[in-house]
Structures are given as structure tokens and as C-alpha cells.
């Protein structure tokens, strides 16, 4: 069998606390990212993603501590993103125990950041975020600041550019779909997956298990990321694996 489709729960964290997380009933502290990460580790998540939305400088220090504590007890790959602006930021997170670093606005502003991190720490640790919206003209445009700020940059061109600069993976999020539970933007995911040779993670808009399946079968993604369907107890990681398996896709036993 070939490499498995990855199911990646994503936790939004701010100032060291989970802002949007899972409602596992047996957690003593549902706001503790380490407890949440351990619960997902036990549930068989294929990877875990922390997106830091801390607005403050203090929040960054807390993030490093959180990653360090998580890495001590979770033995699965951890991607950390949000506010990474320099090689030093990336290096600090990797040394704290992150396996991959997602770069976002800073790479949109200065795509060379992708190359700098890849040259120093390897392509395998650089995840480039592609946050896009569909424009009236039918193309996709890169947005920053949580989907509020347009950049005028074509999403497909950007995806190819950061892949060429050494990104190891692309995290493709439809800012139109994010939070809608209407499913991934499959056309966007497919267009990007077909134009790069690195893996693509589909993100933004998952409301059902079928959406996860479509992300792979129609979107061409190598991995599927979701937040709320897991956090609110609607589905488990095992449900997600079952749905993918029933669709004939390779998943972990």
C-alpha cells in the first residue's frame, strides 16, 4: 500500500490556551493545548496542527512553552503556524519540538522566507499557507489577515512560486469556505494540487465526513485538515479514517 491519506485536526490557540478546541468529556482542562494534543494522539490523529492567533508578543513566548510541553508527551508530527516572520521564529519552534512550520502572511509579503527556512532547516519542515478567495473574474486571489486583506496575488502563481522556493507542503485554505461547513473549495484544491509536485493539505469549510473524502478524491489533496467537526464531538478521527477507507482511499490501520 502507498502513503496514507492524513487526517489532521487543527487547534486554534492564543496566549497558550485553546480558543477553538475539542470537547472531549474527560478533559480536566479543555483549554489546555497539551491535554487536547494528548487526546488526539490517543485518538489516532495522523498529525496535529496548532495555529497561533496570539496578538501579543507575550503570546509568542507562551507558544514556545506550549510546543515544548506538547512534544514531551505527544509522539506524532506537529505543525505550528501563525505569526512566523523569520528564520529565527521557525528555528525556535523546531527546537521546541515542532516538526513543521506553517508560514503565512510573512511569506506572502516576502516569499524568499520560504527558501531561507528550507535552506537552513530543510524543505520537509516548511508548510506554506495558501489562503485564497475566489474573485468575480473566476480566479483565486491570496488573502492575508484571516481573509480580510486582499493582496492582488494570484493563488496558483503563488502556490507554484513557494513550491519552487522549497516549501515541502502547501496548506490550502479557502477563506470563502472557512467556517461555513459547506466543504472545501475543491476546484481551488485541485487546481493547486495539479500544478505542484509537493503534497497539498485541504483546509477550510469541512462540515461532514463526505467533505474529507471529496478533498482527496476530487480535490487531489494528500491530507485533510479540519477543526470543528472534531472539536464539537460530531465525529472522531476514527470516523474520518473509516469514511476515507470506505471510499477506497489508503488510510492508517
Amino acid at each position: 500500500m502507498t502513503v496514507r491519506v492524513r487526517v489532521i485536526p487543527c487547534l486554534d490557540v492564543a496566549d497558550g490556551r485553546v480558543v477553538k478546541g475539542v470537547n472531549f468529556v474527560d478533559l480536566k482542562d479543555a483549554g489546555d493545548p497539551v491535554e487536547q494534543a494528548q487526546a488526539y494522539d490517543a485518538a489516532g490523529a495522523d498529525e496535529l496542527c496548532f495555529l497561533d492567533i496570539s496578538a501579543t508578543h507575550e503570546g509568542r513566548g507562551t507558544l514556545l512553552d506550549m510546543v515544548r510541553r506538547t512534544a514531551k508527551v505527544c509522539f506524532m508530527p506537529l505543525t505550528v503556524g501563525g505569526g512566523v516572520a523569520s528564520v529565527e521564529d521557525a528555528r525556535a519552534l523546531l527546537l521546541a519540538g515542532a516538526d513543521k512550520i506553517a508560514v503565512n502572511s510573512a511569506a506572502v509579503k516576502r516569499p524568499e522566507l520560504v527558501a531561507e527556512i528550507a535552506e537552513r532547516m530543510g524543505s520537509q519542515c516548511v508548510v506554506a499557507s495558501v489562503d485564497a478567495r475566489l474573485t468575480p473574474s473566476g480566479r483565486w486571489e491570496i488573502y492575508t489577515h484571516g481573509g480580510r486583506q486582499a493582496t492582488g496575488i494570484d493563488a496558483l502563481e503563488y502556490a507554484r512560486r513557494v513550491a519552487g522556493l522549497g516549501a515541502g507542503e502547501l496548506l490550502v485554505t479557502s477563506m470563502d469556505g472557512d467556517g461555513t461547513k459547506a466543504g472545501y473549495d475543491l476546484a481551488l484544491t485541485r487546481a493547486i494540487a495539479d500544478s505542484v509536485s509537493i503534497p497539498v493539505i485541504a483546509s477550510g469549510g469541512v462540515g461532514t465526513l463526505e467533505h474529507l473524502v471529496e478533498g482527496v478524491t476530487r480535490g487531489g489533496a494528500s491530507a485533510v485538515l479540519a477543526a470543528s467537526i472534531f472539536h464539537f464531538g460530531q465525529h472522531t478521527v476514527a470516523d474520518a479514517h473509516d469514511a476515507l477507507r470506505k471510499a477506497g482511499l489508503p488510510v492508517r490501520d
Binding site: 502513503v3 491519506v5 512534544a71 508527551v73 523546531l94 520537509q124 509536485s197 503534497p199 494528500s222
Partner: protein, 205 residues
């Protein structure tokens, strides 16, 4: 220093993840850049992520480290585990941006994997580990892989212990004497990986 595991600190990004996993399975870990610690330890672990050249340069920058490793593994028969690029360094050469010399313990070189429509590179995610024969420390299961370069043995190489599949067979584990190398990340492979590390701590090759 009896029963200690020397975890070699030469700037590899996954050093602490490997340390965490070894501690979780009860190892007595010495994180060290000192060949004397390596000479005294009863087991050795070499981590590694990123580029072959950067890792080999980092290892070579520590005076006497390569020589000490070779003595411990091939003269004293001390169990050794190389992880990801730590495994790749066991090869004769790495072919990433030019040709770079490796430790030369295993016949073969490390070359770029080829991407195609169905085969994305880096090879990233959980994949099967299939032992090539009985009696290996590496058992059948699924482990987490994260690499763009792979070990290619010379023809008729007997060093390959396990393979995986990514657009064709890809070497997942090699062994020469008491030196075992795994391409995947046991420290990120949940139960499967921790079990392998446990067996490594008990291993009497």
C-alpha cells in the same frame, strides 16, 4: 555510563523529539557533542533532518566524532540507531546539490526521489514498513515518513532490512553490523515508533 544512550547533538532539528521519545520508553539519555560520552555509552542514537550535506558537515565539525562512532560500532559492536538523515549518513555518499561523502558504513548512496502525478515529494505521512526478512529489529507496521531523498543500495546489497512503497519500493531500514538505520521517524510514529525504540534499548545484535 553503563546502560546509557548517547544521543548525538550536532545541530539536528529533531534532537529533542528523539530525546523525548527515548525518555518515554525509559532510556537513560545523555545528549552530547562529546566523543568521550559516545565512547562510554552502551548505545548510540544519531538523529537528523534537513539536508545530507548540512548534517554531515555538522557531524564532521565535531573533532573525533566520526572516528569514535566507527570504532564503537564496528570494533566494540555497540548498538547504533540512525534516524532519517541520521540513517542516510551511514551511506557512502549523498547526491544532494553535488556529491557529498557520508560515513561510508553501508554500500549505496542517497538520491532524490522522483515526483510524478501520483507520487508527491517529499514523501510525507504514514506508510507501511515491510521487513525484507525475518529476525529484524524493525517489524511490520506503519510509520511516519518525511523525506525527499532516499537510500539506494548498490546491487545485491544485503544491508536492506525493510522497505516501504512510494511510487515503487523505497528503503525504510538498513543494517550493517550493529548499526541500524531507519528512514522513518520512530519518535513521531506513536505506538509503533515507541515500541521500536523499546526494542532498540534491549537489542543485543
Amino acid at each position: 555510563m553503563a546502560n546509557t544512550v548517547a544521543l548525538i547533538d550536532y545541530g539536528a532539528g529533531n534532537l529533542h523529539s528523539v530525546e523525548n521519545a527515548l525518555l518515554a520508553v525509559g532510556a537513560d539519555v545523555v545528549v552530547t557533542a562529546d566523543p568521550r560520552d559516545v565512547a562510554a555509552a552502551s548505545r548510540i542514537v544519531l538523529p537528523g533532518v534537513g539536508s545530507f550535506k548540512a548534517c554531515m558537515d555538522g557531524l564532521s565539525a565535531i573533532g573525533g566524532m566520526s572516528e569514535t562512532l566507527e570504532t564503537r560500532v564496528f570494533k566494540d559492536a555497540v548498538p547504533f540507531l540512525g534516524i532519517c538523515v541520521g540513517m542516510q549518513l551511514m551511506a557512502q555518499a549523498g547526491l544532494e546539490h553535488g556529491t557529498h561523502k557520508g560515513l561510508g558504513w553501508v554500500e549505496g548512496s542517497v538520491a532524490a526521489m522522483t515526483a510524478s502525478a501520483d507520487v508527491k515529494v517529499p514523501h510525507m505521512g504514514w506508510n507501511s514498513v515491510t521487513p525484507t526478512g525475518p529476525g529484524s529489529l524493525v517489524e511490520a507496521g506503519q510509520a511516519y515518513f518525511l523525506h525527499s531523498y532516499a537510500f539506494e543500495p548498490v546491487q545485491s546489497a544485503s544491508s536492506v532490512r525493510a522497505v516501504t512503497d512510494h511510487g515503487g519500493p523505497v528503503v525504510a531500514a538498513i543494517q550493517e553490523g550493529t548499526a541500524l538505520g531507519v528512514q522513518f521517524h520512530p519518535e513521531k510514529s506513536q505506538r509503533y515508533g515507541l515500541d521500536l525504540l523499546s526494542r532498540f534499548l534491549e537489542w543485543k545484535p
